[in-house]
Subunit: 118 residues, 2 copies
Amino acid sequence: MITASPTCIFCRIIAGEAPAETLFRDSFVTAFQDIHPVAPVHVLLVPNRHLESVNQATLEDEAMLGRLFTVARQIASDLGIAESGYRLIINTGRDGGQVVPHLHVHLIGGRRMRHPMG
Amino acid sequence: MITASPTCIFCRIIAGEAPAETLFRDSFVTAFQDIHPVAPVHVLLVPNRHLESVNQATLEDEAMLGRLFTVARQIASDLGIAESGYRLIINTGRDGGQVVPHLHVHLIGGRRMRHPMG
């Protein structure tokens, strides 16, 4: 099992080797501000274990994947957007627009999301 | 614990009382085609248990939430978009653009997703 990739920017943030404005950290998940926000609230949530994308997720990863969403819920509440609403996005591969090859959830809010989505 | 809402269209689909083109079903998750697709592939994945949104998710829901994503991965593979890529979206509340108040994941692919997202 690969737990960290030395060339992965998110692994470096998780390890404290690259700067980030961290909002949450437990043994499974780290959350930090996106440096290129697309909305007033734009937080990234990543598993601490290096996992390239949803395509690599197995049944053993389900609890960790679920944790990403309960942490996102808590952060949305902490940042005051739980009631106004928010969008959670995971991009996979080229068509999905995935830029960093370490699975991550975008938590986006503070404005109305666009319609149609995607 | 509310397990089904008689007025919820997704609960009615899960119960087989409303029509849908179902792609997957286990004891936790049901997946079916979105009737208003925004891309060549647009599948909805829902927990069988009625849960209004991510705002209502608790630690006990983490395994179920994780299952939504491993099932999405499998469906993306089955539909031939795992390698080309896809976007997974959960909308919550007004700003998120949530329409049906039963938590659901949108699996969208078959074309390039828009940038910036959200």
